[in-house]
Structures are given as structure tokens and as C-alpha cells.
């Protein structure tokens, strides 16, 4: 059974069909990429899967359970985690605290225990701290742990979001352009990190404009154009698909010729 199954998903904004009739599935440990030109509806698709938007049509199921339009914090309990294209960082908290918040569900916080700083509450905080530090090490931000998050560079904040999303110990991770704004070295690091996470059995749904990265690490690619799925398949198949080449270059494949997505 696939971990994530999306069927006939669609949403409209005013008259605009932002996403229409999109379906695909993701298995544990698999990296599925969603690609498409700007405005194709990739982020909107993510927002529907992660409960930020209510889909108008279609269904999302997680491990066999229908979770269409379920609120994000309940999806988090079911092991779905995500990052944001337009960063959503806890700016006034430290880098370490940002990741600690990602451990929220494991902490099972109790307001009264926290107010009176009971030994149980302090123990939870200490455990979270240790776990968060490990994750910061994993994304190479451990040296910035006590800095205020707003002081980090864009590329570092992207990695901070990944660490926070991983803190949830997700079964499926949605990454919206994790390498945007990163230099070649940082992109390489993210590449390794994503492959590493997938190897541990986490299903990954990836939106990324860096085609080299996408072609290298994806098991499966879904191509969107103007809200609709125009192709899907293995990286090699998709990059030769005439419809995909046309969508990317806006011309007939014969004129453009060859491997537009290299």
C-alpha cells in the first residue's frame, strides 16, 4: 500500500483552476518530485496535501486513511511534515529553539507541569534539546544553535526548516524548493541529506527547480502545467516527454529538440 495517495485533487481560486484532477502516489523510502513551470500549482498542491488549503475536489489518503483537508496539526500526528517555499521560520526564537518546536509532539507538553517546571517537564526539555542539537549537526547548523533565527542567511534558513521538519520524525516529508537560494555546495549537501532521509524509509515529496538535482535523486517525477498533470514517470522518461519539453520551453519539441530538462 502506498504511504501517500493523491486522487483527482483540485482547487479553484476565483475563476482560476489552480490545480485540477492531480493524482499520484508515494511509497515509503521513495523520492517523488513534482516539477513544472512557475505558477503550475506545485505549492498549491502541497498546501492541499498538508491541510493548509481545503481541496475542492479529490482525496488524499495517508497509509490507507482518508485525510483530505484534515487540519495540519492532526496530519503532523500521522507523520506528515513539510517545509515552506516562502520560509516560515520562528524568527524571534533561537535556531535551536526552532528545531525544538519541531519535537513538540514527542514532548507531550503539559501546561501545569511546565508552569511549575516539574522534573518531568525539565527532563522533556533536556531530551528535546539533545535531539534538536543532533538534527542541527545533521544540517550543518550546530555552530549557530544559540543565535536568533532571523540572523541566518537564506540558505541556512532553508536547512533550518528541513531540520525542524525532521524533528517531527515524519513518515512523509514534503519539501518545497529546499535548494532555492543555496549555492552549489549547499545544494550538494541538501541532495545528500534528502537521499539519506529517504534511505531511512521516509517517503519524500519534493518540489525543486534545480533540474540536475531532481533528475539525480528522484525515483519518480510528476509534471504539472497550469494545474494539470501532463506527465509522470522515471526521470529518463519524463525528460524526453514531448509534452514536458513543450511546457518548459513553450514551443513544439521539434523546434526545441532533444533533452530540454538535461
Amino acid at each position: 500500500m502506498p504511504l501517500l495517495r493523491v486522487e483527482g485533487l483540485g482547487i479553484d481560486f476565483g475563476g482560476l483552476r489552480a490545480v485540477d484532477n492531480v493524482g499520484f502516489q508515494v511509497e515509503p523510502g521513495e523520492i517523488v518530485s513534482v516539477i513544472g513551470p512557475n505558477g503550475a500549482g506545485k505549492t498549491t498542491l502541497f498546501n492541499m496535501i498538508s491541510g493548509a488549503y481545503q481541496p475542492a475536489r479529490g482525496a488524499v489518503s495517508l497509509d490507507g486513511e482518508i485525510v483530505t483537508g484534515m487540519v495540519p496539526h492532526l496530519l503532523a500526528r500521522r507523520g506528515l511534515s513539510r517545509t515552506f517555499q516562502n520560509l516560515q521560520i520562528f524568527q524571534k526564537m533561537t535556531v535551536l529553539e526552532n528545531v525544538m518546536v519541531g519535537c513538540h509532539l514527542q514532548e507531550r507538553a503539559s501546561l501545569l507541569a511546565d508552569l511549575f517546571s516539574t522534573p518531568a517537564s525539565r527532563k522533556r526539555s533536556a531530551e528535546t534539546r539533545a535531539a534538536a542539537l543532533k538534527l542541527l549537526e545533521r544540517v550543518g547548523l550546530d555552530c549557530a544553535a544559540d543565535k536568533e533565527a532571523s540572523s541566518l542567511s537564506y540558505g541556512a534558513l532553508k536547512r533550518l526548516e528541513i531540520a525542524r521538519a525532521l524533528a517531527l520524525e515524519p513518515r512523509i516529508l514534503l519539501l518545497d524548493e529546499p535548494a532555492a537560494g543555496c549555492n552549489a555546495v549547499e545544494t550538494e549537501e541538501i541532495d545528500h541529506l534528502v537521499a539519506d532521509v529517504a534511505k531511512s524509509g521516509v517517503a519524500i515529496l519534493l518540489v525543486e527547480h534545480d533540474m540536475k538535482l531532481v533528475m539525480r535523486i528522484s525515483n519518480h517525477i510528476v509534471v504539472l502545467d497550469r494545474g494539470e498533470k501532463i506527465a509522470e514517470g522515471r526521470p529518463g522518461e519524463v525528460s524526453r516527454d514531448p509534452k514536458v519539453i513543450e511546457a518548459y520551453l513553450g514551443v513544439q519539441p521539434k523546434e526545441a529538440g532533444g533533452h530540454a530538462l538535461g
Binding site: 495540519p72 503532523a76 513539510r82 520562528f90 525542524r164
Partner: protein, 318 residues
Amino acid sequence: MRLSSSKHLTLLVLAAIILIAPFGFPSNFYYRIGSLIFVNGLAVTGLVILIGFAGQISLGHAGFAGIGAYACALAPQYLGLHPALAMLLGTALSAAIAWLIGRPILRLQGYYLAVATLGFGILVSMVLANEAPITGGPDGHEVPELGLRKLLETIGLDLSNAQFWYAFTGLFLLAGTWLALNLHDSPSGRALRALHDSEIAARTVGVDVTRYKLSAFVLSAVYASLSGSLLALMNKFITPDAAGFLHSIELVTMTVLGGAGSVPGAVAGAALLTMLPQVLTVLQDYEHMILGLIMMLVMIFMPSGLVPSLSRLLRGRT
């Protein structure tokens, strides 16, 4: 561990100030100003949790102070409760009301939330002013003696009335500060601060945003209610002004002046706005002008409030 040591330092400094300040007091009047600062500081600490941690505004928290205050005035008379129990009853009532109105109100954001909470505060002060047969109306109502001072006397601790209230309210402020500092660096406190910065990101990592906002609202209502009860018991008299719009605004102003996200800022803000009018009375006609001017200057030059700005300045120097 760095954070927990700064917590203990804050508590230590606050305790030291409360203990040492009286050595410089020329008269009983100063004990009274001190008690007023502590009482206000308690309510403001609650607002630091609501506004500074969770990022939710309330312009009606004096309503909860009014409920706490009138519980101490009315419950002894009508239910025959001891004033201390009346204070607990008021706290429970405030918490229950905060929970009930918080559910619909906290769905609102920003100035919509401000207006809704403002409405609540006005409602409470109207009820207190209009139900004259029960509450005494705008003329106010007497509040019975707490009786703790007499009790202390019998065990040999002989304090003047002003000294007793100074110590008693000071202990409440210390306890309130301790709880708020604990909360700040706890799992729940991090969840509150997270939803302040990005609700969608907090939701995405599993924070039940609705529930946490409601917790902060109820908690801050409890602080305000206790503050109102203490004021009533200390003055032995209460008027609907305790629940009034101006008092709500005053509390929020103290919160912001001190530094909304800062627990020690609550005390600093309360101290500034409680003491300044006393100090400025020497200026007579210009009192309110200068007060307004000082508030504006603080916000212009210390936009994040007294304590955060000053501590940044100190850290920059060393």
C-alpha cells in the same frame, strides 16, 4: 543551562529589590506605591504571556481584574465565604469565563481581537456599574479584611498594614514571575512563542494552535483576576473602575513599555507607569503632558521595550 541560570538571576534580582527597597522608604506611603507596582506587575506578567509569548492582544483584561476584585467584595457578603476563598472563587470564575469567551474570540486576529476583548471589558464594567443593588454601582463596594495580618501578629510577626501588603503582594509577584519564567523555556512556552511567529509553521509541527491560544488567554485571565482581588483586599474598597477600559489600556501600555516578550519587563513597565505619575505630580499642570512624552520617547528609542532594549545595550557594552 544558560537559560535556567538567567531565570534564577532574574528571580534573585527581583527578590533583592523587593527586600532592599524598603530600607530607603521615608514613609508608609512608599510601601503603598510598592504594593501597587506589584499588583499591577502581576496582571502585566499575565499579559506578557498572552501578548509577548502568544502574540494575542487583549484590551479587556481589566474585566478579569474586576471579576477578581468583586468576588472578594461580594462573595463574603452573599455567600459567607472567607475573603481568601472568595479570591479563589474569583480566580475560578475568571478562568471559566476566559475559557468560554476565548473559544470564539481567539479565532479573530489583530485589531478584530482587540475590539472583541475591548467589548468584553466594557461589558464587565457596565454590569458592575449598573447592578447597583448588588454591586453598589459606580459608588463602589466595601471589601472585608483578609485577616492574615492579625494571624501573623499572633505568631509574633508584627507588620504595619502597609508593610504587610507590600510583603504579601510582593510574594504574589515573585510567584507569578517564577511561573512565567518557567513557562518561557518549557515545551508549552516554546509552542506559544512559535505560534506567535508563524501559526502555519506551528500547526505543521503539530501544535494545536487553538488550544494553546486558549491556554494563554485563560492563564493571563487568572493573573489579572488575582491582581484585582489583591487590589480590592488591600484597599478594602472597590469601584467598577478596576474593570474599566482605562485600566485595561494601562495594563497593555505597561506590558509594551516594559517589553512585551520579557517577564522582568512586566515589572519594569508596571513600576514606570505606577511611579511616574507620583513623581510627576510636582510638575502639576504639566504632569500628563510629560507622562505622555516619556511614553512616546521610550517607544521611539526603545521600540522593543525597556528591559529588552536596556539588556541589549548592556550586552553590547561588555
